[in-house]
């Protein structure tokens, strides 16, 4: 962005970062990568009973180009992995990733030839949510953790294309 050249690492840049982060963390646009049972809990989280919009993350984007938070919820098979990678590539920076449930985080009970043993082997995961499936409260907690991470971002970090 070149901001750091303009402003230096001074008080103004810090303030601008804080403002941008405040906007970002309260307007996360998730890309739902729901491939199995965990996706049902994710849908429950988004709908009225648990109402993720209370935390500013209800604008589900099915186009990766409009999303900044990938929620991998479910098993990823070797046939699905290229799709996941392609979508991850298409998401613009800055972006974050939640690995939801035992399967996405570690393969779960499916230790077989066809199942990826944790998506964190191939894409950078920021928050892991344990459970099979995690309850909607856990997902909300995960998104709150993402918000914490977002609040600590600095505009001149690598994540923002510098």
């Amino acid at each position: 962005m070149g901001l750091e050249k303009l402003l230096g690492d001074g008080i103004l840049a810090t303030r601008v970062s804080a403002l941008v982060n405040w906007a970002r963390q309260n307007a996360l646009w998730p890309m739902p990568f729901g491939t199995a049972c965990c996706a049902i809990e994710m849908m429950a989280t988004l709908s009225s009973r648990f109402d993720l919009s209370r935390f500013g993350a209800e604008v589900i984007r099915f186009s990766p180009r409009q999303a900044d938070l990938m929620i991998v919820s479910g098993r990823i098979s070797i046939k699905m992995m290229p799709v996941l990678l392609k979508i991850w590539e298409q998401m613009p920076e800055p972006k974050w990733c939640i690995s939801m449930g035992a399967c996405a985080s570690s393969g779960g009970v499916f230790d077989t030839y066809t199942l990826i043993q944790g998506v964190d082997q191939f894409i950078p995961v920021d928050v892991y949510i344990p459970g099979c499936p995690p309850r909607p409260e856990n997902l909300i907690d995960g998104i709150r953790k993402i918000q914490e991470i977002v609040s600590k971002e600095r505009l001149w970090d690598a994540k923002h294309g510098n």
Partner: protein, 170 residues
Amino acid sequence: MNANHPVVARFRERFAADVLSVEEFRGQTVISVKAPRAVEMLKSLRDDAECPFDMLTDLTAADYLRLDAPERFAVVYQLLSMLRNERLRVKAYVSEARPEIGSVSSLWGNANWLEREVWDLYGIRFLGHPDPRRILMPDDYEGHPLRKDYPLKGRGERSHFPKYTAEEAP
């Protein structure tokens, strides 16, 4: 359907040389046959005058690796006669050295995808199949994972992907 049903008797008579056995278990009849004339046999069952097995409810396969069986693989046809409400199972044994059998997709349309599945997972070729591609595994996959000698955890196919880190984002 029990094993002394006339359609079974007619079948045994016509294909005596290729029928390996006829067994009945809890009212279900299984005819085991040799593979080479399987299509002809199944056509005769489908077109039987009195009890036509006009529906193929399932087509699958079994791997008898290290088990007592005439050959390593069996292609299993589950037939239903909607006219007589009778069911019949036909097992056609194919060898490990030449795992191939005629395609019945011209007899029952649904056999098309079922045979692709058997090819994909067991590696049994269906001669004369109109579209012999894989159906479940990725197109560039090597091997047939439902064979009993395929390693459960695979041959490393689940770790061959590009790796992205947060620092060197794409």
